[in-house]
Symmetry: C2
Subunit: 330 residues, 2 copies
DNA sequence: AACTAGAACTAGAGCGCTCTAGTCACGGGC
DNA sequence: GCCCGTGACTAGAGCGCTCTAGTTCTAGTT
């Protein structure tokens, strides 16, 4: 005894199979009375349309494939936002996870096997060539990663603007000696660094970039530089939250106080940054905007509507406890 | 010009459609020579079987539905483990996310619309009745949550054993005055509390449970109790990592040193606990085992093989820097 | 009364696979 | 020479939907 089919519902409601289809697709061509009768019959039988058959039957699957990294909390937020954005469209989302044991190509392939009409790749690490190749078959939207592959649309955060935002926040607090802890070769690091530099120059100040990286240890190492070589600095912008947390911790174990003696800004607004005992001022990516833009771009591509191939979303500042006005004595 | 179908491959290889199907399913009934020829033809055309049609065609979908919470890092680990576990079976995984904007019922429904043969629910929050109802139609495995719904199989961590593990670690380090910071009404709290109590009693010691909760602030509050009312304590087991981190931070801001004056053990092995500047000793759930057991249970249910309805996996201790032998003076 | 437009509904051909029930050729056993 | 078993392959009927091209019925025109 398997699940009821459209046939069963049709029989019970005393109509044709086609009519049941019409009702369940909410398509025109059925009177309100019949509509109610069919739905009642379906309800009584516990009928639910078979998604596989539905997909097969129609010419277009109306399916948007999304790959995400299972280890990346930020991707979770994006998926959440994508779901709400897809709500108002006629498209459905199909998820495929990328994990250490499941390569990105594998994840993408599985989506294609479902005949998704477009691919939304969160933080893709595929090569430029691989992405371009994918894009020859269906629209490909790369989210949250600056890639330059032909035919691939990009929706990402304006990292330079984020760095600028951080600097301007510090300038507004009266800081004049502001350092930057670099992110090395991590994605986004170059843009954040130049954003920092240009913002400082525009204020007539001299930018100072300390070597760093993406981890807590990189931040802790940078703290040493600051304590030893830069007693004049009253504020520092850090490549990301992880590094900033490492730096924060190292500074707190020194005689210097945060934020009284040194203001610190991170980048990413990770959940760690929000922890009450860390309480790190940081720059947040605009997740809902990224998701909405990714979806809009995908739909535009699918309908051949003109659209901007690269969308850059401005981030926002999340002021917390690690930044404060420059203290009087410094 | 849509994607090539089985028909196209068959034409190119000069065989029937059925033979192509046989080859791609790796089913017996084709000579090695033809097999190679068909695969070559498929390769040349860039053919990939349509998953929707494949699913529709066969009687059984061989699909396992998995719901997960997009905000829960632990679920990411589980998915990763589930993928590798599913590798060796003939089943495929279908993911469906639970998010603030997407209720669990919605996620489950979508999986059922794809006619998944069994449901693996990660940390389900559905009511006992809802779960039981689901289980009347197909196997349901609840992972990482202690639920008691008829027909629902459960695979979870042995929290009592975890608490015991924590206590035994501290006893082995020579501690005799060991406190426990409670988790309140959080899932798992009761079991961890009783595990702690029984382990202490068995050692002939008096258990002391301090009120607490799941957040950093709860931990920080508990730290106050310890500093003010329990100077004799040399070690503390905490309900979870978040609370433990809050506690750790509060203690570090006091004159007492961790781990010299006070050893702390968390629970969950979150990524925060692993941060080098936190370096929290903790109890880790055995993710691969949970995933494997969930899968095994699902398959057993599907094949009517006898199986244990509730599988309890022992966790393991992750010794880090917040625990040390009881110091001489205390 | 004859005609027509449109709404309500149906028949039936796909969609791209799987799978059962064959057909066909070949070789061995008697 | 005949029968049969076996391996290689094919025909064709689904799977549960969608969708085009109808058919039927009602009501409004002239």
């Amino acid at each position: 005894m398997s699940r009821p089919t459209m046939e069963d519902v049709a029989a019970r409601a005393g109509v044709s199979r086609a009519l049941v289809s019409i009702v369940y697709r909410d398509a025109p061509g059925a009177s309100d009375a019949t509509r109610a009768r069919v739905l009642a019959a379906g309800e009584a039988l516990g009928y639910r349309p078979d998604h596989r058959a539905r997909l097969l039957g129609r010419t277009r699957t109306r399916l948007l494939g999304v790959t995400f990294d299972v280890q990346h909390p930020f991707h979770g937020d994006l998926i959440e936002a994508l779901y709400s954005a897809a709500e108002s469209t006629e498209y459905d989302l199909a998820l495929s996870a990328v994990a250490p044991s499941r390569a990105e190509t594998r994840a993408v392939q599985s989506l294609l096997d479902y005949r998704c009409e477009a691919l939304i790749l969160l933080g893709p690490r595929l090569s430029r060539a691989a992405l371009a190749d994918l894009a020859t078959h269906q629209p490909v939207i790369a989210v949250a990663r600056k890639v330059k592959a032909t035919g691939v649309d990009v929706v990402r955060t304006d990292d330079a603007a984020g760095a600028r935002l951080a600097v301007e926040h510090l300038l507004a607090l009266g800081h004049r000696s502001i350092l930057h802890v670099d992110g090395g070769k991590s994605p986004g690091a170059a843009e954040r660094r130049t954003g920092y530099k240009s913002a400082l120059r525009r204020a007539g100040l001299r930018p100072v970039v300390l070597p760093g990286g993406p981890t807590e240890d990189d931040g802790a190492r940078a703290a040493k530089f600051i304590l030893d070589d830069h007693p004049e600095a009253t504020a520092v912008t850090v490549f990301n939250d992880r590094s900033a947390v490492g730096l924060l911790d190292a500074i707190r174990q020194s005689p210097r106080e945060v934020p009284t003696d040194l203001s610190i800004i991170g980048y990413d607004n990770t959940s760690t940054a929000a922890l009450s005992h860390i309480n790190l001022t940081t720059i947040a990516q605009n997740t809902p905007a990224l998701a909405t833009e990714a979806l809009t771009t995908a739909l535009a591509r699918l309908t051949d509507t003109p659209h901007t191939p690269t969308t850059v979303i401005p981030p926002t500042l999340i002021p917390r406890g690690t930044t404060a006005p420059r203290s009087a004595q410094s």
